[in-house]
């Protein structure tokens, strides 16, 4: 790999662009294929690879080998990282902020309240001290975003859930006991969301492992998000 190509690859990732690196395994020839809004294209300098094959590697988020007349070509996708948006800068959020980057989900902590989303409580995390509806509108919830609401206060949680249900977020979770969940469901239905939409919310949040402490609950939430990523459709856990 040429140094200039490595630099371009790193720059693409830092600026949030998805790219696929095509490498001809026989002679080491390489090309970085940029994925634009129009989708994937075929490599210009490496023959025999279709745009569909480039796109398939991107979708699978796993390297794939295309057989060509010039021998095998590895297609290695570098996708825009997923991320975790946490509403409510509470104790569970502190554990999430420390651990979620380890599984490829850097955290953004959102809380409008004085003293909650502080640098001291969240070293290293992205912090947004604003109301969730405004914060999420600016951040832009997309299909690479997971959102979990932990504030336990409808004034903060509801606007976040409303924004999430109107987005393509791949995971939505909300903390709350039975009564909180029932009341929240009623409020969202009253606000006009269909029952199927409200059913997108994972609540009770996290895998059912008997988690009790803030750290245990954080790990159950991360495990549930991993389950959603790795087992789209049907989970071995019976989701």
């Amino acid at each position: 790999m040429r140094l200039a190509l490595l630099d371009t690859l790193l720059e693409a990732q830092r600026s949030g662009r998805s790219v696929v690196l095509a490498t001809r395994l026989g002679d080491g020839a390489q090309e970085l294929v940029e994925i634009g809004p129009a989708g994937a294209r075929q490599p210009r300098t490496i023959a025999g690879v279709s745009a569909d094959q480039v796109y398939a590697a991107l979708r699978a988020e796993e390297a794939q080998v295309a057989e060509t007349a010039d021998g095998p070509v590895m297609l290695r996708p570098y996708t825009v990282p997923r991320r975790l948006l946490v509403v409510g800068a509470v104790h569970i959020a502190q554990v999430l902020a420390r651990t979620s980057p380890e599984v490829g989900l850097p955290a953004t902590i959102i809380d409008p309240r004085e003293g909650f989303a502080t640098r001291e409580r969240f070293p290293g995390a992205e912090l947004v001290r604003a109301w969730p509806d405004q914060a999420l509108e600016r951040i832009g919830l997309d299909e690479r975003s997971a959102l979990v609401v932990l504030a336990h206060d409808p004034k903060i949680d509801d606007p976040a859930l409303t924004a999430a249900l109107e987005s393509d977020a791949f995971y939505i979770g909300a903390l709350g006991g039975r009564r909180t969940r029932r009341q929240r469901r009623e409020r969202l239905l009253e606000a006009g969301f269909a029952p199927e939409a409200v059913a997108r919310i994972h609540s009770p949040v996290g895998l059912s492992i008997g988690a009790r402490t803030p750290a245990e609950i954080a790990f159950s939430i991360l495990a549930q998000i991993i389950d959603v990523i790795r087992n789209p459709g049907a989970s071995p856990l019976g989701r």
Binding site: M74, P81, R129, W131, R144
Partner: protein
């Protein structure tokens, strides 16, 4: 309410780019080593068969001197890959390696799990 701190920059970012700004840590480390003037080779899992521990596309970077980061297996074949990486740094020619229980070196560097893995090792320069 106005957002504080780094969030103040959010308005300038494109919606999908905000917060999605981290690069692959193995490639970052490779770039750092190159910046220090050290030679570097990059190993990538190209294909797997059976119960291989790391997915295709997994990276391991190796620096001159033997430092390495990332992984291409559960630790079973890393030593052999580091050895190949040193040769690749020297020659500049990429190598394709394949490990599995059927490999003649199975008792030394094969995969205990029974899977097979193909690895591409290239110099970065």
């Amino acid at each position: 309410m106005r957002a504080l701190g780094r969030s103040g920059q959010l308005g300038a970012m494109t919606p999908t780019a905000a917060g999605h700004t981290s690069a692959d840590p193995v490639l970052e480390q490779a770039a750092n080593w190159l910046g220090e003037g050290r030679r570097v080779a990059l190993a990538t899992v190209t294909r797997t068969w059976g119960s291989a521990p790391r997915r295709a596309g997994s990276h391991m970077a190796v620096a001159e001197g033997g430092d390495f980061t990332g992984s291409v297996s559960g630790g079973c074949v890393e030593s052999a890959v580091i050895h190949a990486a040193m040769e690749v740094m020297e020659s500049g020619d990429p190598q394709r390696l394949k490990f599995g229980v059927t490999n003649e070196m199975a008792w030394e560097v094969g995969l205990a799990c029974g899977g097979e893995v193909e690895i591409y090792v290239e110099a970065v320069r």
